[in-house]
């Protein structure tokens, strides 16, 4: 039997960690949400107030004592420090004012003074907006709002007999923002359940009850904090989402710690700390810059993100499986608009991969066998020259080859003419266009296979062949019985790798054929790139890429089953 007392510290630690993360996260979120919401509400309230004033003044006839009375009556219902003025455009008059400075000599009604030109300008501006909206139908805001330090400056047009005659201009202090969810309440939500747990642990010493008690107290703590915080924040939908998310995170953490997951992970970390120290720098880099972007891309594939809604939250543009359905739906090779469908591109991609790898392996292997001949002169020179395509940057060679297949100035067509053939428009037919890319990639890829095969060939002991010759084996028999089996361990991983590389060989297709004609020589990855960066359909392109990944993954799993390449790792 394990010692029963060993479970409660774990449950307590889990409770503390879970509560701390849940309350801290929801506190931060609610704070941000309530600040944003407050700003929006205050603005809407100020706009409502000035619109209400404009209505009241219009009903009072827009001018004269009745309008001034409406101004004063409205003023009574506003926060202290609010100042309203009524400006009439014709004659640039200040018809009414509640500004404490506009008394005595400056009391309304009077002509606007030179330093009050801004008020006249604002009235003119508002009149312009209203007229423009009536003429051209642009729905521009007919209320001007300016957020200043501690107050709002607003203006609204005043109509009489359907025409704008002036404007009400309001200077209104902004209400101070409400207190954010307080730190004491958050602390209480964390501390009280923890304190309650200590007496409880005497009663519940075993793992099950201790964890159950921790869960109950967790629910009480988070629930209490949520009820209190939501009342303060006004029960917005965003607040509920934030609370639910952080509560779920905290719960996961509580269970992880309380059920011993953290302890086991910590023990493993301590025991293998040297190994982890070596592996961690690379792992962090991979997590941040490889696995996280990958997951983010997969999430994007379920959204309808385009260049126009990149700032919208992903939940708002969520479309579920729609992108995948759209990609996989059309079973014909041609889309209705004549462009190649997904299945055409996939078929082309497979043909492209198979032919390229076949060419690479056969040419590479033959050259390696020749170069491995003992006593052949100039071997090092041949080898260096034959490796050159691998050493050259492939985007450069891709562009050169595209140039060589140029209809008018390309050297390949000159060579055809030399033999009395007509020059060809290589990129106008799918098949000839494919040939150009195949030539380029074949040229690029044989050196890798040659080097790998050569390495494997050189490691075969010569006495194997001696023995075979003594037994009277022919050259072909020697090749089948000795050479091929010895090549296999080196060639199989190389072939697997080059299948994956060729399948995703972006540069060659993109730079040589560019998918011409009409997208028929596109492979999946260049097609995905075009969706993303020429049509700006990010979500759709992400779904396309995810399908590519799944195809390659299926291939990898299948290949692994067949060759057992990763056995013994």
């Amino acid at each position: 039997m394990t010692r029963p007392a060993s479970h409660w510290p774990r449950a307590l630690a889990g409770l503390a960690a879970g509560l701390a993360i849940a309350v801290a996260l929801s506190w931060a979120w609610l704070r941000a949400a309530s600040a944003g919401g407050y700003e929006e509400r205050a603005r809407a309230e100020a706009v409502g107030a000035v619109t209400q004033l404009a209505k009241a003044v219009e009903q009072a006839g827009a001018e004269g004592d009745a309008a001034r009375a409406a101004l004063t009556a409205w003023q009574a219902g506003q926060p202290a420090g609010t100042v309203a003025r009524l400006v009439i455009v014709s004659g640039a008059r200040l018809e009414g004012s509640t500004d404490p400075r506009d008394v005595g000599e400056r009391a309304a009604p009077r002509r606007l003074q030179r330093d009050e030109k801004w008020a006249y300008d604002q009235a003119q501006r508002l009149r312009g907006v209203v007229m423009e909206n009536a003429e051209q139908g642009f729905a521009r805001a007919e209320v001007e709002v300016e957020r200043l330090e501690g107050r709002y400056a607003l203006g609204a047009p005043v109509r009489k007999d359907g025409a704008v005659v002036g404007a009400v201009e309001v200077d209104r202090p902004a209400k101070p923002p409400p207190a954010p969810p307080g730190a004491p309440a958050a602390l209480a939500a964390v501390a009280l359940p923890l304190l309650a747990f200590l007496p409880l642990r005497r009663a519940a010493a075993r793992r099950g009850p201790a964890v159950a008690a921790a869960l109950a107290l967790y629910a009480a703590g988070v629930g209490g904090f949520a009820a209190w915080a939501l009342r303060l924040a006004g029960g917005s939908g965003e607040g509920v989402r934030a609370l639910a998310l952080s509560a779920a995170l905290g719960l996961a953490l509580l269970l992880f710690v309380a059920l011993g997951g953290a302890g086991r992970a910590g023990a493993a970390l301590r025991r293998h700390r040297v190994a982890y120290a070596y592996a961690v720098p690379a792992m962090i880099g991979m997590l941040v810059l490889v696995f996280f972007p990958f997951l983010y891309g997969v999430v994007l594939s379920f959204t309808g993100q385009t260049i126009y809604n990149t700032s919208a939250p992903l939940t708002e543009i969520w479309v579920g499986l729609q992108n995948y359905v759209e990609i996989l739906r059309t079973f014909a090779f041609r889309m209705p608009d004549g462009s190649p469908s997904f299945y055409w591109t996939l078929a082309f991609n497979v043909i492209w991969t198979v032919t390229n790898v076949a060419i690479g392996v056969s040419v590479g292997l033959v050259l390696a066998l020749i170069l491995n001949t003992r006593g052949l002169a100039f071997r090092p020179i041949y080898r260096v020259l034959l490796i050159l395509p691998w050493a050259m940057p492939n985007y450069i060679t891709a562009l050169i080859w595209r140039g060589m297949f140029h209809r008018q100035f390309g050297v390949v067509n000159y060579a055809r003419m030399l033999f009395g053939l007509e020059p060809l428009s290589w990129f106008d037919q799918p098949f000839t266009s494919y040939l150009t890319a195949l030539a380029t990639n074949g040229w690029l890829s044989f050196p890798f296979m040659m080097v790998v095969s050569l390495g494997a060939l050189q490691s075969i002991p010569a006495d194997l062949y001696e023995a075979a010759r003594v037994d009277g084996a022919t050259r072909w028999q020697q090749f089948k019985a000795i050479t091929l089996p010895s090549l296999k361990p080196a060639l199989v991983p190389a072939v697997i790798l080059s299948v994956v590389w060729t399948f995703n060989m972006f540069n060659i297709i993109f730079l040589v054929t560019g998918g011409e004609p009409n997208g028929t020589t596109e492979i999946l990855i260049t097609q995905a790139y075009k969706y993303a960066f020429q049509q700006y359909r990010y979500g759709y392109a992400a779904a396309y890429s995810t399908v590519i990944f799944l195809i390659l993954l299926a291939y990898g799993v299948f290949q692994n089953r067949v060759t057992r390449a990763t056995e013994g790792i």
Binding site: P281, F294, Y395, L399, A541, T566
Partner: protein
Amino acid sequence: MASRREERIPHWILHAVLVLMVLVTVYPLLWVISIALSGGQSLALASLPADPGKLDLLRAVVPWPERFSAANFTAVFRDQPFGRWMLNSVIVSAATTVLGVFLASTAAYAFSRFRFPGRRTGMMSFLVSQMFPGTLMLIPLYIIIVKWLGLGSTRIGLVLTYATTAIPFCVWMLKGYFDTIPRELEEAAIIEGAGPARVFWVVVVPLAKPAIAITALFSFMTAWNEFILAATFMDKEDMYTAPVGLRFFVGGFSQQWGYFAAGSIIVSIPVVVLFLYLQKYLVSGLTAGSVKG
């Protein structure tokens, strides 16, 4: 003895095949060199008359410029910001190599020598990450590097991206090589009183020189040759790397083949020299791990 001689393929046939292949291999390269040295911007080396005869055509096919001029080489540095682009490429590639080799060799050492929870998962996840399509990563990487980390148009952003994306392949290669180094050597060092870090740097790294050289070469080539990420991250023209700048010469509507060819040669020379220098390690570095399997 007689039967053995009959089985041999005569060497002149082998030489013929090799010479033919070398011609195919070298032809496009000679052709770029010719364009670069022709001094012009044209794709064609010879201007053909309206009705070209055999001789004219032969003249157009042979990679030999009509006249030699270094104008393209001087112009890319004088009239174009090519020197600046090269400098960017040198800095980015060198930093990527140092960082990438460090990350990959330590991780590969851990995967090769220690048995720890998550080891198999880690190796498999590296393998699977080779299957992630670049386009799936491009948008998220842009968001992380440019929007969140604010490293757009900086060399650091590119270095971090290149170094990490090269890790999986490098780790697999290095792990295979580390597996072939006898453990007794390390145990001897430990008995002599060396700590884990000392064992790694003093015993393992020198023994793994061929594989590390190849890893460095691949890290360098990844960074030196990459252009899609660089084109996405780098907004300012003076932060372009050489590949992005080169694409500029013959992409879209510009057809400055002379500049492109001259630039290509300048860009290729360092990596070709490095490659040829390190190719003696190529066979052992690439195949040590797999042959054993």
